[in-house]
């Protein structure tokens, strides 16, 4: 097999690992991963690397192959082809060794209905050679008062927090989170995001999957977009937006009419739409918004409302695939 480096980057111009600080060591290496279910190709020639200390997100619609990819990396599933190493270990051959060093949260997994929170944490703690203090972990995750509650009596958010606790009990070097916030209300979701950022803050590497673009954008240092089992793009969210959706919009409402011709002369401006005294200026380039601000300030315009419309990962996905992620 040829050296990995030549193949690890299927898309051009792959972003370096997290912008802050030096690139960490390579923690996960995936090269030409392929997985079939019968005749269906679930994952096709997927390659990427994940570096220490980053939150890496595998994003794409439901059924794109995210969970399959993740489970091949975790060693829960056996790939049909390709080379995968996690912390230098083969996920299938060195499964036992690897399980001790990673933390896993599985999509749609449950625990025994009548197991108590405390019992689950104690059992998990007993399974690993090295475990953190379960009591402190539950405290951190806000589950202390649920210690004696049975699993079936927990809310969706509490269950997910328990699964995070179980994923962290062995003080893992890499944490895998599969669709962690699916089905949670926005408040619980935000709370979980903070927890995940806390995991990174402790120097751990986080590998997650999500079909929520907002989640990916807020949480991930880098994302890989997967669709129909193929990896179609990879990079930091902001950089992907810049690369594929450079257009910017500025909408402002003032008291002045007839600004359109002048607005069109702003560097980078592409189009101007007017509704009464509300102007929507479309343009491109990093300096475009600044240019509009200069225009408004330079003419001492009175502005009642001013906002920017910046494309998101959602728009990137739409641009790359021709359809919205929820379709």
């Amino acid at each position: 097999m040829p050296p990995l480096e030549q193949h690890a980057a299927p898309a051009a111009g792959i972003a370096p690992p997290p912008a802050s600080g030096a690139p960490g060591a390579r923690v996960i290496e995936v090269a030409h991963l392929r997985k079939l279910y019968g005749a269906t190709v679930a994952v096709d020639d997927v390659s990427f690397d994940v570096y220490q200390g980053e939150i890496f997100g595998l994003i794409g619609p439901n059924g794109a192959g995210k969970t399959t990819t993740l489970e091949c990396i975790e060693g829960v599933r056996r790939a049909d082809a390709g080379r995968t190493t996690v912390l230098g270990l083969d996920p299938v051959r060195n499964a036992n060794e690897l399980q001790k060093r990673i933390g896993v949260q599985l999509q749609q997994a449950q625990l025994q209905k009548r197991i108590r929170v405390r019992e689950a944490v104690d059992l998990w703690a007993a399974l690993y050679p090295r475990a953190v203090d379960g009591r402190a972990l539950l405290e951190q995750l806000g589950l202390t008062e649920k210690r004696n509650a049975s699993f079936m009596s927990l809310s969706g958010g509490q269950k997910q927090r328990l699964f995070i606790a179980l994923a962290l009990i062995n003080d893992p070097e890499v944490v895998f989170l599969d669709e962690l916030t699916t089905g949670l209300d926005p408040q619980a979701r935000r709370a979980i995001w903070e927890l995940v950022k806390g995991i990174r803050a402790r120097g751990k590497t986080v590998f997650l999957t999500t079909h929520l673009m907002e989640e990916a954008e807020r949480l991930c240092d880098r994302v890989a977009i997967i669709e129909h089992g193929r990896l179609i793009e990879m990079g930091a969210p902001a950089e992907l937006v810049r690369r594929h959706c450079p257009e910017r919009g500025v909408v402002f409402t003032g008291e002045h009419a007839g600004l359109a011709p002048d607005l069109e002369t702003i560097p980078g401006a592409d189009s101007v739409r007017v509704e009464g005294t509300t102007y929507t200026v479309q343009g491109h380039g990093d300096d475009f918004v600044t240019a509009v601000i200069r225009f408004v300030a330079g003419r001492a315009l009175t502005v009642r409302d001013f906002r920017t419309v910046i494309p998101t990962l959602e728009d990137v996905f739409l641009k790359l695939t021709g359809h919205a992620i929820r379709d």
């Binding site: 829960v76 599985l106 399974l127």
Partner: protein, 247 residues
């Protein structure tokens, strides 16, 4: 080993918390034993058939009934755990697959023992006739029989798709086997094809082994039955390790 003991103890506690499962697999057999036994009443004193039924056949039936119940409960638990992703979650830990399944075997063996002990204790107090069994040999026979039935349960649990039908399918596997096992009608009295079928089914040998052990038969005499059950266990374990589905 530590994982096995912890998981076994935890699963046992969880099992007890499910009142319906505990009552139906541990207490119901005891109740059947006492109710059926006492319904004979004074008739037992007269008819030799009733006498033999009470002194030997009913206790044997109850003990194999307890084992089958344990297997049905095992099948239900495994399929519920599989459907809920619990098996998958447990597998993504350092626990070895054999430990995850082995814990359930130990739990079921434990509750089978508890149920039999309760039957024995209750029988001494409330059963119409005194029971004379060779306790040591019978205990061994019960363990072998139960392990064989439980491993057959694993094969069934590997095949059933959804938790909803798991117990029904399990019953359809075990009870017809019991019908031609010589438990109720001696094999010699069955129509030849049924007798031939019964002779090759593991439950028939389980019944013969239990009957022999109950009566204090010597082990060389029972060796063929033991052999068949050991073979059953080996085949079922091999099958399970190949076809068992974790999700």
């Amino acid at each position: 080993m530590r994982g096995l003991l912890r998981l076994t103890w935890l699963e046992a506690k969880i099992f007890v918390r499910e009142p319906l499962g505990f009552v139906s697999s541990v207490l119901v057999p005891v109740a059947i034993f006492l109710i059926v036994g006492r319904s004979f009443g004074p008739a037992a004193d007269r008819s030799p058939g009733a006498q033999q039924f009470l002194a030997r056949d009913l206790p044997l039936f109850v003990s194999i009934f307890i084992s089958i119940n344990a297997a049905l409960s095992l099948i239900a638990v495994i399929s519920v755990y599989r459907e809920g992703g619990i098996l998958k979650r447990l597998r993504a830990t350092p626990l070895r697959p054999a430990v995850i399944l082995g814990a359930h075997v130990l739990v079921k063996l434990g509750f089978t023992g508890l149920s039999l002990a309760l039957t024995w204790v209750a029988g001494r107090r409330f059963y119409p006739v005194p029971l004379h069994a060779h306790v040591g040999g019978f205990t061994l026979a019960v363990i072998v029989t139960t392990v064989a039935i439980l491993t057959m349960g694993f094969v069934v649990a590997s095949m059933v798709g959804t938790a909803r039908f798991a117990q029904l399918i399990g019953s359809l596997v075990f009870y017809p086997m019991l019908a031609v096992s010589g438990m109720f009608v001696p094999l010699a009295s069955l129509p030849p094809p049924w007798a031939q079928l019964g002779a090759v089914l593991p439950l028939t040998h389980a019944v013969a082994l239990l009957r022999g052990a109950w009566a204090g038969e010597s082990w060389p005499v029972m060796a063929p039955h033991l052999g068949v059950l050991a073979l059953t266990i080996a085949i079922c374990l091999a099958l399970t390790s190949r076809v068992f589905r974790w999700e």
